[in-house]
């Protein structure tokens, strides 16, 4: 997929025969063996590979679960329990799939934070970034609809609340909601279309992932210094160097994944989802899955009307806006320096942004009352302020630190001093 010339040489007759007709082995060789990657990548760069594996894992477990699942409001809950009790290793499949969703989001958030930290979205990687945001959106839709399928109390009421957002829009709101639900309330048609879409969207994600990887292989990877690759000494071959490093990171990630699956399988879930959906009983607190909590907090932070926009519509616009703003990040950042390593102020505000996102996540799990609302509003203000005010402003007023001339120079300087490595000053990989 790379723009450079190919170094693949077919040796045997059959390889030559295939290469002249469908050069798929050549494509694979150039993309995953000879493909040059910067030599100074740290473990924060392993999450792309981890995400690809998680997508495959979710699809594999999901396909088998679908063989045992019944898409009917009267049967869905018990069919999931049948998987848990009677299907061979069914409990393992379901816990892998449910916790896999959480792990998928954990990895994608680290991946996005890594992109924000090292300025991976900057020219010429704007489309690469935008494709990533599209994948995030598709993931959110898939995860939301997947959570409805077990037909527990949180499934049902989460679906009711989230589809209810659309009614905030004047005129078009109600028809959109009815289209999503297949009726006027969450019921059998909703479950059926959610199952259909939950099965479809992962394959759309896989399609966008191919575009994402294609775009990556055209521009090449960024690296902790943010300096583009200038000579051959700046890079190493993808295989074996990046492959083995990614494989090690994947092993560590799988240890975390397995820890939750085998020892804390219900830690990420909500107890109410082990109660079958009941349209007459509203749970005391309706909370989404943990990975939606920061967005949920921002939705509920808007408790006031802004001119003609009432608080409900304002909240919904804020929530959608929190994702939409990511699309224009490449043009909001005015700094000529890519990596936060050389941007002391950006680095500070970046870590505040991370802390703020975690705080918003926690606030999303609290009831919307009292001081929690005020802190949600402050957190929302900082979330948007970071992108809309700080990103453009910092690029103009900040004095970056001196940049090394090349990746090789940075690596050699780091190893000579033997002290704190220049390229990984903030060690973001410890987050994973």
């Amino acid at each position: 997929m790379s723009g450079g010339h190919s170094s693949y040489t077919p040796n045997t007759g059959i390889e030559k025969w295939i290469d002249a007709r469908l050069p798929l082995p050549r494509l694979m060789y150039d993309s995953f063996v000879a493909y040059p990657v910067p030599r100074n990548l740290n473990y924060a760069y392993a999450f792309g590979g981890i995400l690809a594996i998680m997508l495959v894992s979710q699809i594999l477990t999901g396909v088998v679960l679908a063989m045992h699942y019944a898409v009917d409001t009267g049967l869905a809950f018990n069919s999931v329990e049948k998987i848990m009790r009677d299907v061979n290793s069914g409990w393992l499949l379901r816990y892998l799939h449910a916790n896999g969703a959480s792990m998928f989001f954990l990895a994608v958030y680290v991946h996005i934070f890594r992109g924000l930290y090292y300025g991976s979205y900057k020219a010429p990687r704007e489309l690469l970034w935008i494709l990533g945001v599209i994948i995030l959106l598709l993931m959110m839709a898939t995860a939301f609809m997947g959570y409805v399928l077990p037909w527990g109390q949180m499934s049902f009421w989460g679906a009711t609340v989230i589809t209810g957002f659309f009614t905030a829009f004047p005129i078009i709101g109600d028809p959109i909601q009815q289209l999503l639900l297949g009726g006027f309330a969450v019921d059998n048609p909703t479950l059926n279309r959610f199952f259909s879409l939950h099965y479809l969207l992962p394959f759309m994600i896989a399609g966008v992932v191919i575009l994402h990887v294609w775009a990556l292989h055209v521009t090449g990877q960024t690296n902790p210094t943010g300096i583009e690759v200038k000579s051959k000494t700046d890079t190493v071959a993808f295989t074996p160097y990046a492959t083995v490093k990614d494989a090690f990171a994947l092993c560590l990630f799988f240890i975390l994944f397995a820890y939750f699956v085998f020892y804390l399988p219900n830690f990420m879930g909500h107890p109410d989802n082990y109660i079958q959906a009941d349209s007459l009983k509203t749970p005391a607190h309706i909370v989404p899955e943990w990975y939606f909590l920061p967005f949920y907090a921002m939705l509920r932070a808007i408790t006031f009307n802004i001119g003609p926009i009432n608080s409900k519509l304002g909240g919904v616009l804020t929530m959608f806006g929190s994702i939409a703003v990511l699309f224009i990040v490449p043009w909001l950042d005015t700094s000529k320096v890519r990596s936060a390593v050389y941007r002391p102020w950006y680095k500070l505000f970046f870590w505040l942004f991370v802390a703020n996102a975690i705080m918003l996540g926690w606030l999303g799990s609290r009831p919307a009352e009292g001081l929690y609302v005020i802190f949600s509003q402050l957190g929302t203000a900082y979330y948007f302020g970071f992108f809309i005010v700080l990103m453009p402003l910092l690029g103009l007023i900040e004095t970056p630190r001196r940049l090394p001339n090349s990746i090789t120079e940075a690596v050699l300087a780091k190893n000579k001093s033997g002290g704190q490595p220049v390229g990984v000053a903030a060690a973001p990989e410890t987050k994973g």
Partner: protein, 288 residues
């Protein structure tokens, strides 16, 4: 300009610290007579044999729990997802399970005349429900439907709050359900705080997860169920045994899960070590 930026950063950090105060203030906002957060009292954390990475069910305890369910709880509470055949996991033989199932009656398939008559249950059947439908259950219990017990130990857990929920990741605390059930069963009979109004026909229990009182009266008393294995016939022991049994009913493959988990963890750790050695060898010739 730098001062403004530094000020902004300080304000951010200040906000984080103030948040701790906000949390404390919200959680402390209790009124003894008219509480707004439930349960009023948090359940105590007990020692369970099935806790932790090597947790396993105590079969004797599960058998005692089954006895309590059969003699007391099953009068009102169904357990419709549990099949008699799975009772073999409690240490019973196939013949014992067959005999146990035969004590129950379930509706048969329509006979040649199209009538549905009852037959003796077989191991493949599930526990029959005490009421024909939810309406009948509600009518017999003052409007409150006694919840099904198949999943109750996973469907009830008192919120842990910060920072306990973080610590739970490391202590592998997953026993919120049994702890809650034990606390609820032993929490009856207390005098409500002065000024608290208890609705007619409900019973005060500070451990109840959804309100200050519930429709169910204290179901278990000291000496109510006869144990033949010499275990103490006390409310506390009964409550522990039924909680453990309900945990098994909700998560029958728990032992299998933890045993598999141990093997998976050992494999992953060894494999990660080997990959790390390979990685060191491969990168040895490249400064990075």
């Amino acid at each position: 300009m730098k001062k403004i930026l530094l000020g902004l950063a300080a304000a951010g950090l200040g906000t984080m610290l103030a948040l701790g105060g906000a949390y404390a203030a919200e959680e402390a906002g209790h009124n003894a007579a008219e509480p707004t957060h439930f349960p009023i009292e948090k359940p105590a954390e007990l020692d369970w044999t099935f806790a932790g990475p090597f947790g396993h069910y105590d079969k004797q305890q599960l058998q005692r729990g089954l006895k309590i369910y059969k003699e007391v709880c099953s009068a009102c509470h169904s357990m419709s997802l549990v099949a008699f055949r799975s009772l073999e996991e409690l240490g019973y033989t196939e013949a014992q399970v067959k005999a146990f199932a035969a004590e129950y009656e379930v509706p048969d398939a329509p006979n040649a005349d199209g009538e549905i008559v009852n037959r003796k249950a077989i191991p493949a059947d599930h526990f029959p429900s005490p009421y024909p439908n939810a309406q009948a259950a509600a009518a017999a219990n003052g409007g409150a439907v006694p919840p099904d017990f198949s999943l109750i130990a996973k469907a009830r857990a008192v919120e842990r709050g910060f920072p306990l929920f973080v610590a739970d990741i490391f202590t592998q605390y997953q026993e919120g359900g049994p702890d809650y059930i034990h606390a609820l069963l032993t929490g009856f009979g207390q005098t409500p705080p002065e000024g608290m109004q208890i609705p007619e026909g409900t019973h005060y229990n500070p451990y109840f997860i959804a309100a200050k009182s519930l429709a169910m009266a204290q179901p278990l008393q000291d000496g109510q169920v006869t144990y033949d294995d010499g275990s103490p016939q006390t409310l506390d022991q009964y409550s522990k045994d039924i909680s453990a049994f309900l945990m098994w009913a909700a998560e029958p493959h728990l032992e299998d899960r933890k045993k598999t988990g141990f093997r998976v963890m050992i494999f992953l750790i060894v494999f990660a070590g080997l990959v790390y050695i390979a990685k060191r060898r491969i990168w040895a010739d490249v400064e990075h």
